[in-house]
Symmetry: C2
Subunit: 138 residues, 2 copies
């Protein structure tokens, strides 16, 4: 696969990005596909995947790996996440956690650090309620 030297502006690519930008949740590729399909019925799942990969590669969107499938995040402003350990629900946390980057080689493993992301863990309101029978992990 020869790496493309220039990427083009296509309806499909713009639709995928637009849909992700306005999404309030963190959709999977398939969920995004269903949404984009309302505007471009003949778009294919493969195209959605290819565009998500490209958009992530150029840093236009974020990928959130989670057990149960990859999710995408269209909000680029620095923010963190809360994940429900009961049902897998994921929400944004807009808060300045004012965390300092590790500077010593011992802590950073000699990585060239560029940023960080905090994932808070807990139970969402729904799972707190059903605490005795929490939803299935996703």
């Amino acid at each position: 696969m020869p790496e493309p030297r220039h990427s083009r502006k296509t309806r499909q690519r713009e639709a995928v990005l637009a849909e992700l930008r306005k999404a309030k949740d963190h959709p999977t590729a398939d969920q995004l596909y269903e949404r984009v399909r309302k505007a471009i019925p003949r778009i294919s799942l493969g195209t959605v995947y290819r565009n998500l990969e490209l958009l992530a590669a150029v840093g236009a969107i974020r990928v959130v790996g989670s057990p149960g499938g990859r999710r995408y995040d269209g909000e680029m402003a620095s923010h963190h996440h809360v994940r429900c350990t009961g049902c897998g629900r994921l929400d944004d946390v807009h808060m300045d956690v004012g965390l300092e980057m590790p500077r010593s080689a011992r802590f950073s493993h000699n990585y060239e650090l560029t940023g960080y992301q905090v994932e808070f863990l807990g139970l969402c309101p729904a799972c707190v309620k059903n605490f005795s029978r929490p939803g299935r992990k996703t």
Copy 2:
């Protein structure tokens, strides 16, 4: 699938847990399978998966969801991770980041928070070296 009421102690389960506890990396199910196979050649991949799921459910191990596959972590002491955005390499960061939990409902989305985990991002030494041609994302 009737939820088992009591879990039993089996060679396979203990071997999976032991192997993961002594692992210094964050193996995938398949990598763990290969390692456990040295002790129990006839163990099946399915058994490894089932035990990993059970062990995670009872909180004996941690699951690290990442683009490119699920990984498992046998170290339960609180720690964080550094992920290379170039090649996907994952390392531990043992450091007290002294982060305070969000208390306001606005930030916590009414979650009952139990903990948090920081993921530092950056380039590992190898990818820094090949900066012009970073390895493939995993």
